[in-house]
Every structure is written in structure tokens, then in C-alpha cells.
């Protein structure tokens, strides 16, 4: 009882004497209240994993992939072109069109394959303020196309920066990177930010002499003038000497050029409704060339001596979003019209193939949050999507979602969501099978978070039923709808404890699928992270576990990916960092799709020395 009375006195003291606070207390309070994620995060859209700016610094996360590799229910791996793919637990990483990536308001998912990460997984985070990952089946509020997971990358608002950063790294594998960021407020109504980065990345030498080498350039620009916001981004990537599509050896020569550029212009047209309109356009191209014996080209499957695939794609559109608060009701609404298409040209030893397709997309959503009390909200949302294509099935999709968010005290909350939604086949899937149908999903998920004396616990879980699941046929490499209904059951538990300057994070997840023959990737995973921050000294260790599984005839061993690093202040505004990837060399390997005997790592053991200069 005595403890409770003291607690009450303390609260009352804070309540009545807040006005007499010191400048330092006021500044701390202001810092806390104005954190950007407090404005951007949408509790109603699913189960959020928040990566703050402090987390990015604490774990030396220089690239988006540094964050994604330990994500619950997922695993990040490279495919046989050296591209990174984020895949759901139990599902082999080929394309994954249900993960959508945004930079601020703009969705940068690709057009032909829909999967954003092959190009953007290595996005440098020097210009990023925070990342919100929504494991939110059927989330609609971002005016996104239908999705299971949404990664929202929020850039540093230039008016909050007024500074710049130079970062250079060298790696023990011979790679390097150089990055420059600048963000400035110009007047009280205008600001700009600019980022440019280059990375040269090399892997170790694998079987058959495979030694992937990648060069990538990223740039991002933002101008804000009054209620206008102009953003553009560009990534250009080249890689070679990857595993490729040969049967038992690497191609004699391989080269893969890809690029994606976008521009987005938005304006707030009515502040009372937060009414924002946006126009945007994206242009993407990829050209992969392989030459060698025993090269297996697909669609149709043929043995070739060379194979060149060129895909040029685009999308452009206009959207409007807004919200209105009426008493206890908050209504969100939005609509989008988009045109997208591609042109494909293939050359192979036996001839040429060309193809093109396009789609007109229209969507509208309405979502309401009804706050029964300040701590209890009911969510209900619907979204309609209409997709018509030059070839392939036209689609009229209606999803619905409902949920409850209950904040039962300042220490904990509970969320539950139920939804029915669809995964429309993307262009590459239709290209291989014109009759492919939409995938039908129904999901039930929950989250419980509680801060106890020993730390904070977060428990998530759920059940997803998938009909007409879209999968790839391993003999002719075409996509098809399986006849079995898949039922995924999953849970995760996470723990966090702050002990002064030390922070401990731990997590474990498990996913089970009703039919074992569809388990082609790890179903369990876990993380253990310890990090230390004292002034400008940072240090961390992270162990990422992924369970064993069977792929084709191969038994893939469990993996223990140990990463760690330190950051030391050298001079005023200058730092040196040392980070080790896969230090134990025990990370999980992935088998190549066409040659399961050939296994490779997401990241082979390397140490990276980084110099950072802020100005």
C-alpha cells in the first residue's frame, strides 16, 4: 500500500507542478512528444514493428536489409541472381507480391514482379528517420494495393535536420560504399533534402567460381514548398558472376542491369480534412544476360547457350486521401487511379520472344475508427479494387477488415483483427499462365503487449486460410493455383528490457502449415540482441536463428547469424564504426531453386569499417 501511495503522490506532483519544470525537462518532454513516429504510426493497420532513428544508430543499420534480416515471421535471403527477397516463413523466396515497400507516401514495389526488395533491400538509411513495418493483412489506410505486410520508410524531414552526413565504408571482402546526405530548411515555408550513395559489394567465392559482384547507386531528393511536396528516387544496379540459371555450373558470362526511378508530387488541398492529392510516375527496367552451356531458360523451358531477358515497365497514377473526425468517429477515405504496364523482349539461342501487357487499376477505401472510450477503439474498413488487363483475368475485388484496439492501461494493449482479402496475380504470374486466378485469403490475428516488472512482452499470433494459393511449378516454372487450401497457424513472443544503458531484445516465432509438402523454407526463427549506448559510444551483438527445413532432396541446416559492432566518437561530429556480419559463419544457407546442391548465404562473413562525418 505504501508503494502505491508514493506512486500516487509522485503522479500528483507531476500533474500540479508541471508548469515549474526546468528547461531540460521541458526539452526532453518536447523531444518525446514531437517524435515523428507518433504522428505517422497507425495502430489500426495491424501489428507494428517500429524501428526508430535510435535503433538504426544503435544497430548500425546502414541498409534496409540490416533491419529486415531479423523480422519476425520472415526470412531474408538472396536468390540465384544475387537479389534479396523477403519471404514468409515456410515459403521459398522467389517473388513475394504481398510485401509492399513505401518511401513516405510512394509505393516503390516493382511492376512486373511486384516484389520491391530485389532493388530496394539495400536502400541506405542515411536519409531515413524511422521505419514502420505493418504485419497487417489487408491494411488499407495507406491507399496501397492489397497487401499482407507493408514496410513504410519515412525519410528525415529536412526542416528538422539542418545538417549533413558523409559516410564511407570498406569491407574485408573488398567492397566499399560512399554516401552523402544533406537536409536544410531554406525559409519558413521551404526545405530540401538530398541523398546520393554508391555501393560496391562482393561475395566470397562459392562452388563453380560463383562470386557475385554488385554495384549500386541510390539517390533521393525532396523539396517542400508550403503545402507542396516533391520527391524523387532512383536506384541503378549492376551485378554479375551470380549463380544464374545453368544446371550444374555458373554461366560463362552473366550480367544483370536494373534500374527504378520515380517522381511523386503531393499537395495538401484542404487542411480541415487532411485532404491530400498526389500524382506519381515510375519507370523500371531490367536486363539480364547469361551465356554458357546447360543454361535452362524458362517460359518455355529450353536448354540454351545464351538467354537475354529485357523488361521495361512503368506505372503512373493519381490518388487522393483524407480523414474527418466527427465526435468519437474518425473516418479515413481515399481513392487511386493507376495505369501500369510492361514490355518484355527475350533473345535466346532458339529464337526471340516478345510480350506486353498493361493494366488499369482503380480503387477506393473507407475505414472508420470508432473510439467507444479513449482507450477502446473498433475498426472497420472496406476497399474495392478493379483491375482490367490487356490479357489475363479482369478482377473486381472487395476486401473487408475489422478489429479492436484496447489500451487497457499505460503499460499494455490488446489488438485483434479479422479480414478477408485477395492477392491478385501479378504480371509475371499472368505471363506464365494466362488463366491464373486470384489468391483468396482470410486472416485472424491478435497482439497482446504488457510491460511487467521484468520487462515488456509482446505476444502475436493468428491463423490465415489461403485458397487458390499462387505457387510456382518446379518442372515448367509457371505459376498456378494449387487445389489444396492452406492453413497457416503462427505465433511469436518478444521481450525487451532496458537496464540503464544496456538494452536486451529477444524474440521467437513459429509458423505451421497444414500440408508439409508446401513447407519449403524455415518455419521457426528467433533473435537475441544486446545493445549498449553510453553517450556517443554504441555497441551491439545480435544473433539471428532460423530453423532447419527440407527443400527438394536437401536437408537445410539451421542457421545462427551473429552480427555485432561498435561505434566510437573520434573527433567532434566524427565517428568510426566496426561491424561484423555473420561472424560465426554459421548463418543459414539457401539452396538455389534449379540446383539445390548449390547453397549460398545472405551475407558471408565480413567486417565493415565505416567512417561517419556529420556537418
Amino acid at each position: 500500500m505504501g508503494r502505491k501511495v508514493w506512486l500516487l503522490i509522485f503522479q500528483l506532483f507531476f500533474f500540479f507542478f508541471a508548469r515549474g519544470e526546468s528547461l531540460e525537462n521541458l526539452l526532453n518532454k518536447y523531444t518525446e512528444m514531437t517524435k515523428l513516429y507518433k504522428k505517422t504510426r497507425q495502430e489500426s493497420e495491424g501489428h507494428i514493428i517500429l524501428i526508430t532513428r535510435e535503433d538504426i544508430e544503435r544497430f548500425q543499420a546502414h541498409k534496409l536489409s540490416d533491419i529486415l534480416r531479423s523480422l519476425r515471421y520472415f526470412f531474408l535471403q538472396r536468390n540465384y541472381y544475387g537479389e534479396e527477397v523477403l519471404s514468409y516463413a515456410t515459403i521459398y523466396p522467389l517473388e513475394n507480391s504481398t510485401v509492399r515497400l513505401f518511401i513516405n507516401d510512394h509505393e516503390i514495389s516493382a511492376v512486373f514482379k511486384k516484389t520491391p526488395l530485389p532493388l530496394w533491400a539495400d536502400l541506405p538509411l542515411d536519409f531515413v528517420e524511422h521505419i514502420e513495418i505493418y504485419q497487417g493483412e489487408s491494411a488499407v489506410k495507406f491507399n496501397n494495393e492489397m497487401a499482407g505486410t507493408i514496410i513504410k520508410v519515412y525519410t528525415k524531414p529536412p526542416e528538422r535536420e539542418n545538417s549533413g552526413l558523409l559516410r564511407g565504408s570498406i569491407s574485408t571482402r573488398g567492397g566499399y560504399s560512399a554516401n552523402l546526405y544533406l537536409g536544410k530548411e531554406l525559409t519558413d515555408v521551404s526545405s530540401f533534402s538530398f541523398f546520393v550513395g554508391r555501393e560496391d559489394y562482393k561475395t566470397k567465392k562459392y562452388k563453380y567460381g560463383v562470386s557475385d559482384r554488385k554495384k549500386s547507386y541510390y539517390s533521393y531528393t525532396q523539396f517542400k514548398v508550403k503545402d507542396w511536396n516533391l520527391e524523387s528516387g532512383l536506384v541503378v544496379k549492376n551485378s554479375g558472376r551470380f549463380r544464374g540459371d545453368t544446371v550444374t555450373q555458373k554461366p560463362d558470362y552473366s550480367n544483370f542491369d536494373t534500374s527504378h526511378g520515380y517522381i511523386s508530387i503531393s499537395k495538401i488541398i484542404l487542411k480541415r480534412l487532411s485532404l491530400k492529392t498526389r500524382i506519381y510516375g515510375d519507370k523500371l527496367s531490367s536486363d539480364s544476360y547469361q551465356r554458357g552451356n546447360n543454361l535452362i531458360a524458362v517460359n518455355p523451358v529450353q536448354a540454351e547457350t545464351f538467354w537475354d531477358v529485357y523488361v521495361n515497365s512503368y506505372k503512373f497514377g493519381v490518388e487522393i486521401t483524407g480523414n474527418r473526425e466527427i465526435g468519437k468517429h474518425k473516418v479515413f477515405f481515399g481513392s487511386k487511379i493507376q495505369k501500369a504496364g510492361y514490355r518484355l523482349k527475350e533473345s535466346r539461342g532458339t529464337g526471340r520472344i516478345s510480350d506486353e501487357n498493361n493494366e488499369s487499376y482503380w480503387s477506393g477505401f473507407l475505414e472508420e475508427i470508432f473510439n467507444i472510450t479513449p482507450s477502446l477503439g473498433i475498426i472497420g474498413g472496406i476497399k474495392y479494387e478493379k483491375i482490367s488487363r490487356k490479357y489475363g483475368r479482369d478482377l473486381n475485388l472487395l476486401l473487408w477488415r475489422t478489429g479492436i484496439v484496447y489500451l487497457h492501461s499505460s503499460k499494455g494493449y490488446f489488438k485483434i483483427f479479422i479480414s478477408k482479402y485477395y492477392t491478385p496475380p501479378c504480371f509475371v504470374e499472368i505471363y506464365t499462365n494466362k488463366k491464373i486466378r486470384k489468391q483468396k485469403n482470410r486472416s485472424y490475428t491478435f497482439e497482446l503487449s504488457e510491460r511487467l516488472g521484468i520487462g515488456r512482452f509482446v505476444l502475436t499470433g493468428g491463423y490465415i486460410k489461403v485458397k487458390d494459393s499462387i505457387m510456382i511449378n518446379s518442372s515448367d516454372f509457371s505459376y498456378y493455383n494449387i487445389s489444396d487450401t492452406l492453413k497457416y497457424r503462427f505465433y511469436s513472443i518478444e521481450y525487451r528490457k532496458n537496464l540503464g544503458n544496456f538494452r536486451l531484445d529477444a524474440g521467437y516465432f513459429h509458423v505451421s502449415v497444414n500440408n508439409k509438402k508446401y513447407k519449403t523454407a524455415p518455419s521457426t526463427g528467433g533473435t537475441l540482441k544486446g545493445s549498449y549506448k553510453l553517450g556517443k559510444l554504441f555497441g551491439f551483438l545480435e544473433l539471428i536463428y532460423r530453423g532447419s527445413y527440407k527443400f527438394s532432396s536437401q536437408k537445410i541446416k539451421e542457421g545462427y547469424d551473429l552480427n555485432g559492432g561498435v561505434r566510437i566518437k573520434m573527433l567532434e561530429n566524427s565517428y568510426v564504426e566496426l561491424k561484423g556480419y555473420n561472424i560465426l559463419n554459421k548463418a543459414q544457407k539457401i539452396p538455389a531453386f534449379k540446383d539445390p546442391d548449390f547453397k549460398y548465404l545472405l551475407e558471408d562473413r565480413r567486417f565493415v569499417l565505416t567512417f561517419v562525418k556529420e556537418f
Binding site: R160, N162, S163, E185, L186, S409
Partner: protein, 145 residues
């Protein structure tokens, strides 16, 4: 009874202050009031000239008396560029204004993603201002701007 009071207080902190623009403005006003009080040496009736975008602070702070002309003010609080206030004691809320105006002795502004407070040593000396000890940790040299 204890539980009721405690839960009410928790909800008060969790929701009444939940990132509302009003509350953010209130804290901004308190911070600016403390800065102005430190540079003018006054705790009340500080005559202040405000740029248009800073006028909200008088709603939350009662130590200011708003004046219409810059020359009548004890201190100018600028959140945007302004004319004809050269040489007047100034507190600014933007980094570019701090760099631009030599008479800006203090600032509450965003830098490297965080709100900052600074009192500029050389400029304080020009105005012959000595700060109370509790503000010394916010003093920095002009060359570090």
C-alpha cells in the same frame, strides 16, 4: 478510491496530452518564455515583438506583453524572416535565422532531428548579457553554428 484516482491520472497522461498540437505549442511557449526570461533578466511583462507565425505563444505564456513595433520590444521572437529589426535582441526558432541574424542571441530550433536550445556566447557578450548558471550548459560559440 485509490484505483479510480490512479487510473484517471494514467488516462490523463496517456490521452489528454497525447501528442496534441495544443500541448506541443504549450511546451514550445514555455521553453521560449524561459529563454526570453533568461536573456532579458525579466520574469514578467516582457515586451515582445512577434513574427506572424509565433503569435500563438502569447496564448500559453502570460509573461509577455505584445508590442506592435520592433523598436518598442525588449526582445524579438522570430519564426521567419523580418524587416527592420536589426540590432534588436532576438530569439529565433529556425536554424537559418540563427545563422542569418547576428543579433539572434538564442534559439530554439531543430538540428540533426532533435530540438535544440542554444545561447550564442559572443552575441550574449555583445549585448552584455550574463545568464543564470542553470543555462550555462546551453551556451556555445558562434563558430560552432
Amino acid at each position: 478510491m485509490f484505483r479510480i484516482i490512479y487510473v484517471l491520472l494514467l488516462f490523463y497522461w496517456a490521452f489528454a496530452f497525447a501528442n496534441s498540437k495544443e500541448q506541443i505549442h504549450k511546451i514550445e511557449s514555455e521553453i521560449i518564455s524561459k529563454i526570453c526570461s533568461a536573456v532579458t533578466g525579466k520574469n514578467a511583462d516582457i515586451k515582445v515583438y512577434l513574427t506572424e507565425n509565433m503569435k500563438y505563444i502569447t496564448k500559453y505564456s502570460k509573461i509577455f506583453v505584445m508590442v506592435d513595433r520592433c523598436k518598442d520590444a525588449d526582445v524579438v521572437i522570430a519564426g521567419k524572416e523580418l524587416q527592420n529589426c536589426r540590432g534588436k535582441l532576438m530569439v529565433v526558432t529556425k536554424y537559418y535565422l540563427l545563422k542569418k541574424y547576428n543579433n539572434a542571441v538564442a534559439a530554439f530550433y531543430w538540428y540533426k532531428g532533435r530540438p535544440n536550445i542554444i545561447f550564442v556566447k559572443e552575441r550574449l557578450e555583445n549585448f552584455k548579457i550574463s545568464l543564470p548558471d542553470r543555462f550555462i550548459k546551453y551556451v556555445d560559440s558562434e563558430k560552432n553554428l
